[in-house]
């Protein structure tokens, strides 16, 4: 029954795609309806504890199940998708809109498969299909080949991480003979370590952590509604979800939690710095996603997967509207350069709603995102004071880039927008901003008590320190925004990492491939050519030894190659004068034989010659073997 949850949006998406472009109203209603239906299914599935199974064959099976954590994500995904799809139907280009909305629904289906998966094989299936969707969506405007190249970059980068999941899958099966998550608990030693770190690599790649971060920038070539879905509810968020979901079995693996924390913290600080420097609206947000996911990683590593998932949900609620708003501002300015914007006066509604989301990103109480960030800080504090402080610094960075984003995009300015948002766009933005606000309920004690998870205890001193740093961050962000200059530092392109990857991995590989191809044509192909040459030499000297040859296998080979050489010579003869002859008299030859055309005849004579010659030798050898072999 749980299969309905991933399958419904996926099939609806396929149908929508197949139905073709049409009026925005129709497409928007259908896509929105499909998302709403999925949301309903998700709620039902969570309430009634649906499960699913499917016999794959060969002793493998696929399992679906929901835990409280996964149910929360399973509801978040279609809820965010609903708003994003309605926005997209009103905002994106009419050409290819059906494909765009359909693919986004399929994307949600793949994400829901990942979320409901209860074994590694099902997980891998959903995980990789998400990769496909991201490729197709990032390259949505395919007439610009650079977009497709970015899609390919995203697919290949995240698939590099997927290899970690393959590794985990293989290690789990070989160690436990099964692939369900519980099998992870039966592993030990090297297979367990491989599985745990393989999963970490896969999660890190999807979540844009550490060295995998640059694909998030490239993914910005997709439409902004795609970015909203990709960052808030699917793909990127899946990385943190996966770690949280599998945390119970992996937490005790030596070195694993530490590695998760280090990766997350490093990314939260580095990507935060990148976001503070970025002058491109969407890339700024992309950097912030990577940083926020880093914070979720820290929460998981510190032993609070539940906190990570709460932050995932609050992050979804503010990151989706921010991307949608960036799309509106981008259309208004005709570019994503932040310094060309400034729409407080021209687009007051958008500016106001975006402010809510930006405040949530900055983690200003009483918004829900502030609570989840404070929980992460508290969890980090439990781990060590230094870690706690580092998380607070990361929080200050997020306040800085949030403030800078809002002030540049929607702060005071006299820019005249080239395009204005339609009411469904505002409505979608408003709904998400409302959700951001509603999540503020998380600050209430009874709500916290109802959460099905362990929470870290935080002191008021810590909250005070955190808020002080936040204020510093906000001020710094506003100051930076005021002093915005035309040139952004080179480091804004992910601290030079993309260039390093290009020079250190991509180009060397391309050179290697070219070299390999050349070797393949020259050296490897020399094997048959050399054999033919050798055979010719042998043939010249070995005519007299013909009779003795047949007994020894090495010489038999030589004999074969002698024939090969002879036929080659024959063929050359045929290819030279033969060709001229047959080209000159095609019809004549055809008439003489009365059957096939001229060249088939030429082929046939050449062929039957060597074919029967070699077959004859083979048969003779066979008979000789039968005679002498038996004796």
């Amino acid at each position: 029954m749980l299969w309905a949850l991933p399958l419904f949006p996926a099939l609806a998406g396929l149908a929508l795609w197949a139905s073709g472009d049409g009026s925005r109203l129709r497409l928007g209603l259908l896509a929105g309806g499909a998302a709403a239906g999925t949301l309903l299914l998700a709620v039902l599935a969570a309430a009634q504890g649906w499960q699913g199974g499917f016999a794959w064959g060969a002793g493998l099976a696929l399992h679906l199940a929901l835990t409280p954590l996964s149910a929360a994500v399973a509801i978040t995904v279609p809820a965010v998708a609903l708003a994003v799809l309605i926005f997209a139907a009103a905002h994106e280009d009419a050409r290819g809109l059906a494909r765009l909305l359909g693919l986004m629904l399929i994307f949600c289906g793949a994400m829901l498969l990942t979320v409901t998966a209860a074994d590694l094989l099902t997980l891998l299936i959903g995980w990789e299909i998400m990769g496909f969707c991201s490729w197709a969506l990032i390259g949505h405007h395919w007439r610009d080949r650079a977009n497709m190249a970015s899609g390919r970059y995203a697919f290949v980068t995240t698939r590099l991480g997927d290899l970690g999941l393959f590794l985990a899958l293989m290690a789990t099966w070989s160690g436990a003979g099964a692939l369900d998550y519980a099998a992870l608990g039966r592993l030990d030693g090297v297979p367990l370590a491989l599985a745990a770190f393989g999963i970490l690599i896969a999660a890190g790649a999807k979540a844009g952590q550490g060295p995998f971060a640059p694909w998030l920038f490239r993914a910005m070539d997709g439409p902004s509604s795609v970015s909203a879905l990709l960052h808030a509810a699917t793909m990127v968020a899946a990385g943190a979800y996966l770690l949280a979901r599998l945390h119970p079995w992996l937490a005790d693996v030596p070195g694993w939690s530490g590695a998760v924390i280090e990766l997350g913290l490093f990314t939260a600080l580095a990507s935060g710095a990148v976001a503070v420097m970025q002058g491109h609206a969407k890339k700024l947000l992309a950097g912030s996603t990577s940083a926020q996911l880093g914070l979720m990683f820290v929460a998981v590593g510190a032993g609070y997967p539940g906190v990570a998932v709460v932050h995932l949900v609050t992050h979804a609620a503010f990151k989706a509207p921010l991307f949608l708003s960036a799309g509106i501002a981008g259309d208004a300015a005709g570019t994503y350069r932040l310094r060309e914007m400034g729409y407080m006066r021209a687009l007051p509604w958008t500016a106001g709603l975006t402010a809510l989301a930006a405040l949530a990103l900055a983690a200003v109480p009483p918004l829900g995102a502030a609570w989840s960030k404070e929980q992460i800080a508290a969890a980090a504090m439990h781990e060590s004071l230094l870690l706690g402080l580092a998380v607070m610094v990361a929080g200050a960075l997020s306040a800085a880039y949030a403030a800078r984003f809002w002030f540049l995009a929607y702060g005071p300015g006299n820019a005249v927008p080239k395009a204005r948002p339609h009411w469904p766009e505002i409505a979608a933005l408003g709904a998400l901003a409302l959700a951001c606000t509603a999540l503020g309920l998380l600050w209430l004690g009874p709500v916290q008590a109802a959460l099905p998870m362990r929470l870290p205890e935080g002191g008021s001193l810590e909250i005070g320190a955190s808020l002080a740093l936040l204020a510093v961050g906000l001020l710094a962000g506003l100051t930076l925004a005021r002093r915005e200059t035309a040139t952004e530092p080179h480091a804004a392109d992910w601290l030079g990492l993309p260039a390093l990857i290009g020079r250190g991995i991509v180009r060397p590989f391309e050179r290697l491939a070219t070299l390999a191809a050349r070797l393949d044509d020259s050296v490897l192909d020399a094997i048959p050519r050399g054999a033919a040459l050798g055979a010719r030499t042998v043939a010249r000297g070995g005519r007299r030894a013909w009779g003795a040859m047949q007994a020894d296998q090495g010489l038999i080979n030589a004999a074969v190659w002698q024939v090969a050489a002879m036929t080659r010579a024959l063929a050359r003869l045929g290819a030279g004068p033969g060709e001229t002859l047959s080209d000159g008299l095609p019809e004549g030859a055809a008439r003489i034989t009365g059957r096939t055309g001229a060249d088939v005849r030429r082929l046939q004579t050449g062929l039957s010659h060597h074919y029967y010659a070699i077959f004859g030798i083979g048969a003779a050898l066979a008979i000789l073997f039968l005679i002498f072999g038996k004796a």
Partner: protein, 492 residues
């Protein structure tokens, strides 16, 4: 019924070769014949009991003194391959000819090739196996040399001589193998039961070497694969599809049926060496394919990569490491699915490549661009096939590869881990290919580029539907094969 499936195409080929029929009628007869042959196979499938060994057997004595007879029968190994071949032959025959010359002979040779191919998979006699193996070379030689383009004759000759050299090694090995039996028999079932070279030292190794080199040429594996790219590039699309889809499988099928099943002990001794060759093929094939600027060469090299996966699965299955029966079973099932999947997927890709040639006479990737606009059906078919080929879940290639990887990891973890790298390279190269053909700006010369015709898209839809079906619901195929896999290890 199996005999009917083999002989009917031969009979129809003879008819087409001599009766003065029109091109259209020849085509109709050829398609009908191929469909009937497949129907016969489906009837056999309907009565097939997974796990019950060889079935639908028939035996007619031929040369009793040598133990040679007309023997046919299927098990879980050969039935899926025969069914896939039957389907692919219909597709290739029904596909529009690239150059409409001598249609009658073209279809005659295709049917001849189909008879030989089905015969190879269905026969249970080793001598007939060899005969069919060689006859398939003849059929393909003519199809490439006669209806190919470019330097077709040179490519055809290279293909022919190279693989014929391999088949001679196979012949020698077969004879040596059979000579170990007393009384002489070419019966595959008896040879599997007898294990004629069990316990022998060097001679057994030499026999295996002959078989492996011979089949490696056909498969093809690194470093004896260089005949493949020119043969594909110059072959007409449908012939390429059969070459990749059916003929390459003869190599891997031979490895399973003869090398692995009849020489279990010897094969296990050298399984690691074979696995390493397979690993090199996986990596080399994908890396070299990545650098190809020619559409068909690029697809051709991915065959080296994919067949490397299949051979890796076979090597794992034959490794006979005790305590890992489940892993070996999984690997062999995976290898079999890989063969079927590769047949369907690469068959489709080569047919599409043929469609490109028919429209532009050009395989250079650099000359294309922006075709998604005026050829959306082509884009859909090629996109689906490409993603299937790079192993996207939900499509057939993934089913095969994930099982091979899981099985291989249990036996040789480092080897499986290295083989994973192939997944990245194939992803990059297929996406790059799609990007360059279908996206970006369209060169003005391609403005009149026609999308796939109704016939073409119908044929591709049938092949790709199966790719999707295997991808989302593999159980039926895995069950059919599983039987054969169990049989391999004795008794089912």
């Amino acid at each position: 019924m199996l005999t009917f499936a083999i002989l009917l195409p031969f009979a129809a080929a003879t008819l087409l070769a001599f009766a003065p029929l029109s091109g259209g009628l020849s085509r109709a007869i050829a398609v009908a014949t191929a469909a009937l042959a497949l129907l016969a196979l489906v009837v056999v499938w309907a009565g097939f009991t997974p796990g019950a060994g060889f079935q639908a057997e028939m035996e007619i004595p031929w040369i009793p003194a040598l133990g040679v007879a007309w023997r046919v029968g299927v098990d879980g190994i050969s039935l899926p391959l025969a069914l896939m071949s039957g389907l692919l032959f219909i597709a290739a025959i029904a596909w529009p000819m690239e150059r409409e010359v001598n249609a009658r002979q073209y279809y005659a040779w295709f049917l001849f090739l189909e008879g030989a191919s089905l015969g190879l998979f269905l026969t249970l006699d080793l001598l007939l196996f060899y005969v069919f193996f060689d006859l398939s070379l003849v059929g393909m030689y003519f199809l490439i040399g006669r209806w190919g383009h470019g330097d077709a004759q040179r490519a055809a000759l290279k293909f022919f001589l190279y693989t014929l050299a391999g088949s001679l090694l196979i012949l020698l090995a077969i004879i040596a193998l059979v000579l170990m039996t007393d009384p002489l028999t070419f019966d595959m079932r008896e040879l599997i039961a007898l294990q004629p070279v069990a316990g022998m030292d060097l001679r057994a190794g030499l026999i295996l070497l002959g078989l492996v080199i011979g089949f490696a040429i056909k498969t093809p594996l690194f470093p004896v694969h260089t005949w493949l790219p020119p043969a594909h590039v110059d072959a007409p699309g449908p012939a390429s599809a059969i070459l990749a889809g059916v003929l390459l499988k003869m190599g891997t099928y031979g490895l399973v049926r003869i090398a692995m099943q009849m020489m279990r002990e010897t094969f296990a001794t050298y399984a690691l060496a074979i696995a390493i060759v397979a690993l090199i093929s996986i990596l080399w094939g994908s890396i070299v394919a990545f650098a190809q600027e020619n559409l068909k060469r690029r697809i051709a090299y991915t065959s080296v990569n994919h067949m490397g996966y299949a051979v890796l699965g076979i090597a794992v299955a034959g490794s006979a490491v005790t305590g890992h029966e489940a892993a070996r079973d999984l690997a062999l099932t995976g290898a079999m699915v890989e063969m079927v999947a590769h047949g369907l997927i690469t068959g489709a890709l080569f047919l599409i490549a043929g469609a490109f040639w028919a429209r532009t006479q050009d395989y250079e990737l650099g000359h294309y661009g922006g075709l998604a606009g005026n050829a959306p059906r082509m884009m859909a078919a090629m996109g689906l096939a490409s993603f299937a080929s790079l192993g996207l879940p939900g499509l057939a290639g993934f089913v095969a590869e994930v099982q091979i990887f899981i099985g291989a990891f249990a036996i040789w973890p480092w080897l499986a881990a290295l083989a994973l790298l192939g997944l990245i390279v194939t992803a990059a190269l297929f996406l790059g290919m799609l990007q360059r053909i279908f996206f970006g700006d369209r060169p003005p010369v391609l403005d009149g580029f026609a999308d796939l015709s109704r016939t073409e898209i119908g044929i591709l839809a049938a092949l790709l539907a199966l790719v999707v079906l295997i991808g989302v619901w593999p159980a039926w195929l895995l069950d059919m094969i599983g039987a054969g896999a169990a049989l391999t290890f004795g008794g089912g």
